[in-house]
């Protein structure tokens, strides 16, 4: 009987109460120093960098941990990190690193040669008691497997003295330095690992500029300034909050309304708005990635024929893709890797957009009347391709003009990987984000015949060229940069001629930020999310 009255009164009370609260809702929170909020698309998976492969996880760990060597601020060449200097033996199999003295982990324990050895042993040895918490995927991937595996490159890591570490390799590895500069190979505190090897992913302890404070899953990760950071005077920020905000448009709204300070994953269409807004800035830097169309050369279709592949290369208007899908935030791809990587061959000429030449080549190959082709396009946005279906539609309309009838097929990302890895496609759109700024990381991984093994092929063109293989393996074994450069330049010419791909574009990572954010490293191809020097100056 009293239900009605109490309900009505209750609801009225809630209503009044809420109006009051809205009215007096406070916004004071700026009291705790310089806090920067970085809005991004997804949450971190683990804060143990050795366990992850995704950018969203490494984005955070990069700011908690340091690596032995680091990338330079201007490019992807290597400079000292936790190691002050290093030298290599004549046979290029022994690397000796001299470590910085007096560096401490965030838990107060000492960083020294023992700590480096401890981390490497944990990663490489499956029998190590601390080889726990995950699969250490990047280690196996960059160093050819784990202890005992045939392809494992590192023979031994030993501490010569307190501040000297020596690596002995089974054979020279060209990209070795570039590899150990990668964020997954950051040095964590042995004390913390010994306490709980699986817990490192939740309670990270490194030597980096920021220490871990808390993690609200799928929401925020908060880091605070490491007051004892070894680079004196840094970091400038007191607190950094990484906030997961899955919707790109909503994230941009939050940036415009001032709720966040930096965002990545900007929709290309929003770039114009950023440029018009004097309070915001846009980072424009060619990314370390490539988006491409791979022809499956293993399948019995006309694209088995080199002339057909070249013809199709002539018939893709890259500028139109950049304009309509990337809103200008991309550069046309000529080679399989961007020119920010050393070894890029500037002399290689791209197949220009020329339908007449394309038709002529098709005629020579005996396909004057055209043919049908199935093209895979991912349904999920990828960092190098915001909208795969749209890209496919542009190509579809281009190729129609030379009589090639494209059927577009889409799958969700995991299914897509599964099917392309098994070679079920005739042609597929794909892409790659580089790991270490080394040409090997693009050319060998994506186009060498070693990587055509199903069901997880990395070379989804199933392109098997022996002359290319010879170049790439030789370059892999050498640490002489001049020699390697020559080999990679040659490799790019071979690839251009054989045309296993249509290299499409290098996408610009869309980072937008408030103009009061200073000294960000936003234009770096690999470390644009490193916040050591970043500052807020309002």
């Amino acid at each position: 009987m009293n239900m009605r009255k109490s309900t009505v009164i209750g609801l009225a009370l809630i209503f009044v109460f809420s109006s009051v609260l809205v009215a007096c809702g406070s916004k004071d929170a700026s009291s705790n120093g310089k806090t920067l909020i970085w809005g991004r698309g997804a949450d971190t998976k683990s804060l143990d960098p050795a366990q992850v492969t995704d950018g969203e996880s490494l984005k955070v760990t990069k700011n908690i941990y340091d690596t032995l060597v680091d990338y330079k601020e201007e490019n992807t060449e290597v400079e000292p990190g936790l190691a002050e200097s290093w030298e290599t033996s004549k046979d290029q199999k022994t690397w000796t690193f001299h470590l910085k003295k007096g560096v401490k982990f965030q838990d107060g324990s000492d960083f020294n040669a023992e700590a480096v050895v401890f981390n490497f042993e944990r990663w490489m040895d499956k029998k190590n008691p601390y080889h726990k918490g995950g699969e250490f995927p990047y280690y196996g991937y960059m160093f050819g497997g784990y202890k005992g595996d045939k392809g494992h490159v590192i023979n031994e890591v030993k501490a010569v003295d307190e501040n000297t570490v020596q690596f002995t390799l089974k054979e020279p590895q060209g990209p070795f330095l570039a590899n150990i500069a990668m964020p997954p190979f950051a040095i964590a505190s042995p004390k913390a690992i010994k306490k709980d090897p699986e817990g490192l992913g939740k309670h990270p302890v490194g030597t980096g500029p920021f220490t871990f404070e808390k993690w609200k899953k799928n929401d925020t990760i908060t880091l605070k300034k490491n007051k004892d950071y070894w680079k004196k005077g840094f970091p400038k920020l007191d607190k950094v909050i990484f906030k997961s905000m899955p919707d790109n448009s909503a994230r941009f709204t939050a940036l415009q309304s001032g709720e966040i300070d930096v965002m990545d994953g900007l929709n290309p269409d929003d770039a114009k708005t950023v440029k018009q807004n004097s309070k915001l800035k846009l980072s424009e830097q060619q990314g370390m990635n490539v988006a491409y169309l791979a022809f499956n050369m293993d399948k019995d279709t006309p694209v088995k024929d080199k002339k057909v592949r070249q013809a199709l290369n002539y018939a893709v208007d890259k500028q139109s893709i950049i304009k309509s899908v990337y809103a200008g935030l991309a550069t046309p791809a000529i080679n399989p890797m961007p020119d920010s990587i050393w070894g890029f061959n500037k002399n290689v000429k791209d197949y220009s957009f020329d339908l007449e030449k394309a038709k002529k080549l098709l005629k020579e190959a005996g396909y004057e009347k055209g043919f049908k082709l199935e093209l895979y396009a991912p349904s999920d946005p990828r960092p190098y391709m915001p909208d795969g279906r749209k890209v496919a539609e542009v190509i579809q309309s281009d190729w129609k003009k030379i009589g090639v009838d494209v059927k577009i097929v889409s799958y969700d990302w995991q299914t897509y990987l599964d099917r392309t890895g098994k070679g079920q496609h005739e042609a597929a759109l794909f892409g790659w984000s580089g790991d270490n700024g080394d040409p090997d990381n693009f050319l060998y991984v994506l186009l060498d015949k070693d990587n055509t093994r199903t069901p997880d092929a990395g070379n989804i063109s199933f392109y098997k060229s022996d002359s290319l293989h010879k170049d790439l393996i030789k370059a892999q074994r050498s640490t002489d940069k001049n020699e390697r450069t020559k080999l990679y330049e040659d490799a790019q010419e071979i690839i251009k001629d054989d045309a296993p791909w249509v290299p499409l574009v290098h996408a610009t990572p869309g980072i937008a930020y408030q103009s009061y954010v200073k000294n960000g490293n936003f234009t770096h191809p690999l470390n644009n999310d490193k916040l050591v020097k970043m500052d807020i100056q309002k």
């Binding site: 809205v22 997804a42 998976k45 492969t53 906030k243 909503a250 309304s257 995991q414 997880d456």
Partner: protein, 326 residues
Amino acid sequence: MLIPVLIGMSIITFSIVHAIPGDPAKAILGEKATPEAVAQLKESMGLGKPLFIQYVDYVKGILSGDLGTSFITKTSVAEEIGPYLAATMELSFAAMVIAVFFGMNLGILAAWRHNTGVDYTAMVIAIIGVSVPVFWLGLMEQWVFAQDLSWLPSNGRIDARMGFEPITNFYFIDALIQGDFVAFGDAFRHIILPAVALGTIPMAYIARMTRSSMLEVMRSDYIRTVRAKGVSEFLIIYKHTLRNAFIPILTVFGLQMGLLLGGAILTETIFSWPGIGRYVYEAINNRDYPVIQSGILIIAFIFVMINLIVDLLYAWIDPRIQYGKE
């Protein structure tokens, strides 16, 4: 009812999860993994075993209270799911308060002023409410109220700069426990936009159901009698009619509440709300079998529980309904 529904759900989700292509081992190791590493990991995760055995293992785990461990985060689902569930429940509850308050009153208004401009306006609002896409409404809300007018925050549960430390993960309760009224106010400001976006569809359903149910009761003899007795119009509507019209409204309420708890993915995505919808959705993208299976099982469980509560409420609202005394 509960047990067969849950068994059915577990079989269905288990089969679908294992039938979709894609490989959890590959999702863990990333695109760069070698075929050997993927095969090895699959073996060690027990994914090479026959499906039936895997299902039996899974059910054994559930029966002993083990919901499994996420492949990706290596954390047990039981431990992980709490905050997500709390976030979703808080949002669904707020959305439902809005939906019930506005929906019922809109419906009552329409029924009371049947076949007038008021009625038509109310029903047009209801039709728009049912048909407007949630993501569009959400983005528009953000655009107008956060970006243009700067009245309300556009996303999240609370200002991240505040450093609020949750206890139960129900932010309103936590803020009250800690006596932190600034946090309470801030959490309140944060929930308004998503709750309105999420509450629009149930509001429209409730409005329509209230109207038709009220109209039916208003035509009955005893309302005429009450009116003849000279009872005020307010009491006729809110006391005599509404109570008798309440059962169908409650049914809609129960179904909608269940839908909100499981199906708020779009709202959660647009408003960066760390709820269970996104948790399960991301697990599907990563082929994180234990999270998908247990997540859906828990959502199903809550759905069934809400409907059970609604059934019990019937008897409370209408004493003529009695269970087990037929």
